[in-house]
Symmetry: C2
């Protein structure tokens, strides 16, 4: 490749701050075989400098963008918008807006990251609302579930957008080349007449549309962990509830397993013998174990890393950002949005013919 | 007790039909120490008779109500309402309506059971909509989650009803004497301003109301399996999605555990040593493992048994029905609904003062 892929990193965000962000960048550099990458590290130079000094390879491909201004984890999004300018998070996203970086990664305040990203990058062509996507480990691999909380209520048009964004995301990050993503719409049953109006309307339109995805119809909650489809589409309220339910179940399993394996001498002996395998398994269960939650639908790639992620987790988020930025994900989304534009216009402005056409999509 | 508790059983419902229903009744009779029970068995006498003949103790406390008419599993609820009269399911519920039985149990068509129960028994005082409740095994015991699918969309008034029904149910079936149930409202965050209008309105009213329950505020999906509260209240769409997600996670976990424990010789040896403990654990994980899904809010107790339940599962559903029917659950609900009546009236008819009061609550 002629020019390197530049990743903009909020080095101050996350529970563990600078050391983890820098260690994560180093790890992702070591893993980036065949792809030339560079990093912009936003934050306090006095704290980033010493971390870089010990890492010659990383230092050679990194620029530090100094700021001492940090948005705290507790800051409300509205306040972060007003007071966040010049902070490490703000500058991290602004680098993408200015074209200096291909993607932004932050482990900081989620609401602030969402608000600032929307303000600075704006929505990509045709899309009205961003979506947060989770990469859920399943029996068959990884399923993308969205929206998991960027929106509270979602109408049929938004569900369509989520399908398009989720399919493009899955192909870019988890998919196999040349294979379209299979997409299911979360519902309370698989029959046509099930569910509320929004979900049935979205179902009808997804079935009729010709898109770069393979729509499989309604799926149910149990299909998520089984991995029936590559992408599960739902409103942000339900998506957030199922994601956190999955996290709670993983914790329940782990605790129950621990209890079971310490309940008797025989079980203890068994656990000792099988301990490597059991340790490996625990890491596979939690839907939050795949680190990196992209905000989809923006003009630019933004990935949220878990606040509590370790260096390995942070490196995973950076790799996801790099994969997304290097892919044709954005073009794929906009091509599908183009194909959907008639259907979406009718859906959003059912009486458009009888009255002046509203501005419609925010620019 | 002077008179026995009579349980009405749809002996034809469920995937395994008469043998499982009769075996389940026998098992529940054996477990009913201290409580005098009788059974009405609805279905084909030619098939029930031989099963009873081999069980003297059960036969002594059972009456067979003959019918050959059966509602199939595929029958649509609307058709079941029109054509279901005289079927084993219909007659099973009708026995409760007539006062011949204290509770009805069926493993048959869920939609038909719901529709026929609503038609024959009607809603209990003050309540507008029934709710389906799941008993979810957690780290701390069992949490009641409702609604898990009897309704598709739920407004603030319905969420309040679910809180009242769920608390009364939990105290009757899973609770400790003298302790009020703790109740949480499922949301996407624990802060006051989170979530959509319905959930925030219900939160405000539950916080203000003085009810026979201990309202703990918002909870999130991860709180369910942890067992943070005794009762988790949510709309039927979200409740159905989280319940089925939990079932899928349990399947995922079991499959992963099996795979892990056959992945290497050491793991295999460990599993062999710990096999009893692991087998016991698997049974504890699945939120569908506690059989018996009551339809709450009706004038009478109706419990749905899983279609695929075995005799032990069927007996659990019968025990749950007996516990509910023998409890003061109905009185508790109606007392709380009385306390809520002003709030609910305002919620349902915000402009009632300015116009003739509508009929409001279906009788």
């Amino acid at each position: 490749m002629s020019s390197p892929l530049v990743i903009s990193i909020d080095a101050m965000g996350g529970d563990h701050g600078v050391p983890i962000a820098v260690a994560g960048a180093e790890l992702s550099l070591q893993r980036s075989a065949g792809r030339e990458v560079r990093f912009l590290l936003h934050g306090d130079e006095a704290r980033i400098g010493p971390e870089l000094a010990r890492r010659a390879a990383l230092r050679a491909v990194s620029d530090v963008r100094h700021t001492e201004h940090v948005i705290t984890a507790a800051e409300k999004p509205a306040l972060a918008l007003r007071r966040g300018k010049g902070s490490s998070l703000w500058n991290c996203v602004e680098s993408v807006k200015r074209g200096e970086a291909a993607a932004a990664v932050s482990g900081g305040n989620t609401g602030a990251l969402m608000a600032i990203s929307k303000l600075l990058l704006r929505m990509a062509g045709g899309l009205e609302r961003p979506a947060a996507v989770a990469s859920w480990p399943t029996l068959r691999g990884v399923t993308a579930v969205l929206d998991v909380g960027a929106n509270i209520e979602s109408d049929a048009a938004q569900l369509l957008e989520f399908a398009v964004m989720g399919a493009a995301f899955h192909c870019a990050v988890h998919g196999q080349p040349g294979r379209r993503a299979t997409v299911g719409l979360l519902n309370v049953g698989s029959e046509e007449q099930k569910g509320h109006e929004e979900v049935r309307e979205a179902h009808r339109l997804l079935r009729e549309a010709t898109l770069e995805l393979d729509y499989k119809g309604f799926v149910e909650g149990n299909d998520i962990a089984v991995g029936t489809v590559d992408v599960v589409v739902t409103d942000g309220f339900t998506g957030n509830a199922v994601l956190k339910t999955g996290e709670g179940m993983a914790r329940f399993f782990t605790a129950t397993l621990r209890e079971t394996l310490t309940s008797s001498l025989m079980a203890k002996a068994g656990a000792l013998v099988a301990s490597d395998a059991l340790r490996e398994m625990r890491a596979r269960l939690d839907p939050s174990s795949v680190n990196g939650g992209p905000l989809l639908g923006l003009n630019g790639t933004v990935v949220k890393s878990h606040g509590g992620a370790d260096a390995k987790g942070y490196a995973n988020a950076i790799s996801m950002a790099a994969d997304l930025a290097a892919s044709n994900y954005a073009a794929r989304m906009s091509a599908d949005m183009e194909r959907l534009s008639n259907a979406l216009n009718t859906l959003r402005h059912p009486h458009a013919a009888a009255q002046p056409a509203p501005a419609g999509v925010p620019s």
